[in-house]
Point group: C2
Chain length 189, copies 2
């Protein structure tokens, strides 16, 4: 059921790093993104895929993790993502690409969830540094990084009251709790 995939698709930030995600798997996921809606069908997005060292480590070094967890510097060695898909766009496209990137990224993560993987969309990126790491031409702009791997953490959803605090948090067992608004608070009557 699609609803099960949506529920299982949490943002994971710790992984069994030794469990490889193959290039073929990444290509399968990008092929899903290839088929999604695109503003005016422009299809300006491009996908840089990585699933090996030392590239994985170089990408990792350009990312910021979980802004609300002030004490946490991101996943330690051994718990880092096994793969990345970096979503970039050809510059010069005027429309639709920010919607497009969300559409594509979510489709990739839902597809990953179905096969037992998980990940996280990361917007906190040192853009110039990652541009250099990937040797990306100036004609490309980085929009989002998707970190992927086999999840090594438990993530649970907490329903919050209207105007409740939306900051996620970790308990003493390192379970990650994510406050989500209730349906009644997001539907306009």
């Amino acid at each position: 059921m699609f609803s099960d995939i949506v529920k299982a698709n949490r943002s994971y930030r710790r992984f069994f790093e030794q469990e490889a995600v193959t290039r073929d798997t990444l290509l399968t996921l990008v092929d899903y993104a290839r088929l999604v809606p695109s503003g005016a069908n422009k299809q300006a997005l491009r996908y840089y895929i990585a699933c090996e060292q030392p590239l994985n480590g170089q990408i990792f070094a350009t990312l910021g993790w979980a802004g609300y967890l002030k004490e946490w510097q991101g996943p330690v060695a051994g718990e880092r993502p096994a793969a990345y898909i970096v979503i970039v766009q050809e510059k010069g496209y005027k429309m639709g690409t920010s919607f497009d990137a969300g559409i594509a990224a979510q489709t990739i993560l839902l597809g990953a969830t179905e096969i037992g993987l998980g990940g996280c969309m990361i917007g906190n990126i040192q853009h110039a540094k990652l541009q250099a790491v990937l040797n990306l031409a100036d004609s490309f702009e980085i929009l989002l990084v998707i970190a992927l791997g086999k999840p090594k953490e438990k993530v649970t959803i907490e329903e919050i009251e209207t105007d409740g605090d939306i900051k996620y948090w970790r308990d003493e067992n390192q379970v990650h709790h994510v406050p989500k608004r209730q349906l009644k608070d997001i539907v306009i009557i």
Copy 2:
């Protein structure tokens, strides 16, 4: 299989308008969007749902359809959407909301596809007019409209060569053809 849903999730613009989409169905779809990733978990999106006349017709009158089909003014009466989900955001949120809207809209459409519905994300909106139709407070900004219904048209994907024309087109049988780039042209090596 998730891949089947992704493939079946085309942008549909003609519907069996008399086949109702209930409010409960719309709430189920919005509940999927409630659980998706959100930039910094801010959850700034809100959802206005409509599944009845005269509201449906009033929303329809604010939308532009299929920009590349110059001869086509949009679906005729009887083939118009049976429902709409309008994605709006609370103004004053600084981050993440354009990614968020794509993430949410795609999740809604994939969920609709699973239950035999289809639809189209529409960004060509007369914003002020729709704001008035929905009686939306000034504190909300309209981001995207999702038109929904039981699809009444066939949509096929055509693979295009590198830098091929991305404009969709209709053949003499009113089949809608959508050119999509090939995998090799969207993956950066």
